[in-house]
Amino acid sequence: MSGRKVILEYSGIVTFEKIDRMLDKLIEMPAFLQLTRSIQKKLYGIFVECIENIYKNTGNGKDFLDAKNKLPYIRLGRQDDKFFISSGNIISNKRIDTLKGKLDKINLMDHEGLRSAYAEIIDQESLTNEEGAGLGLITIAMRSGNKIKYNFTSLDEQHSYYEMKIDVPNPSASQ
């Protein structure tokens, strides 16, 4: 298979209810239903982590309304012999260095390293919000088996647009 096909795409404010509706829609889409159960679970898991990431980053949409009206987005699709999930949202410039540090560290880890980091974080006594610990990003890397591609585009002195792209190999493409 060649070319690029979008399976599900959304751009706009992300609320908890919106996440529910989006996931309900995803699991009923013919293009999703025809995938193997194993790929469905991988894509679903990564999609949820990405959309929850947007939800946490843009809390009630207040941030992006102040910053050039750049809406968050999430996209799930198929490109050539793999799937991809990409997302974007505004974040405060103050958070970029820490986030970039975590992404770079995660991208250097092999699968065993990711498992160890995962175990270490969930075992923390005081973990009430996993965002700070990067657990969602580790989960994405573990599920996809790939590096997390990312990009920050400056919008103004306070804000940037943060984008991620995760590729997921399609094992049936080689059959």
Partner: protein, 132 residues
């Protein structure tokens, strides 16, 4: 001791904690709106269950605690591990609890997270492949 029965929703799992019939199961999807608020009462219940067992004079026959989770988000993982730690404490006190960690064939992530939780909580799991 009261039993806990929680019906599943699109973002919360089904929970059965039935001490009269020794049926214990958490199944479905876990990405609650407020993860700590969902899991804290279950953690408290398990703490009480440990005390309840200690007060019982009967011989406790081996019983299963089933995790059959289709999906859980990253913060839920922390609380599921906390449940496993409570179960491990009960197990260490000598009660014959058997944790069954069920996962779908090919769901490597679910298997691996179960293995990590078993290792951290020092509680042996029995892994079972289930159909979707």
């Amino acid at each position: 001791m009261n039993k806990v029965i929680i019906s599943p929703t699109s973002n919360t799992p089904k929970v059965i904690l039935d001490p009269d019939n020794f049926i214990f199961e958490i199944s479905g999807e876990s990405r609650p709106f407020d993860v700590p608020t969902f899991y804290q009462p279950l953690l408290t219940w398990l703490e009480e269950f440990g005390k309840h067992l200690a007060k019982m004079n009967d011989v406790i026959r081996p019983f299963d605690f089933i995790f059959n989770l289709e999906y859980f988000n990253s913060l839920s993982a922390k609380y599921i591990l906390d449940l496993c730690k409570k179960l491990s404490k009960i197990h260490l006190e000598g009660y014959p609890i058997n944790v069954k960690w069920q996962y779908e064939d090919g769901d490597d992530y679910m298997l691996e997270t179960g293995q990590e939780m078993s290792k951290i909580s020092r509680l042996p799991f029995e892994y079972e492949i289930v159909k979707s």
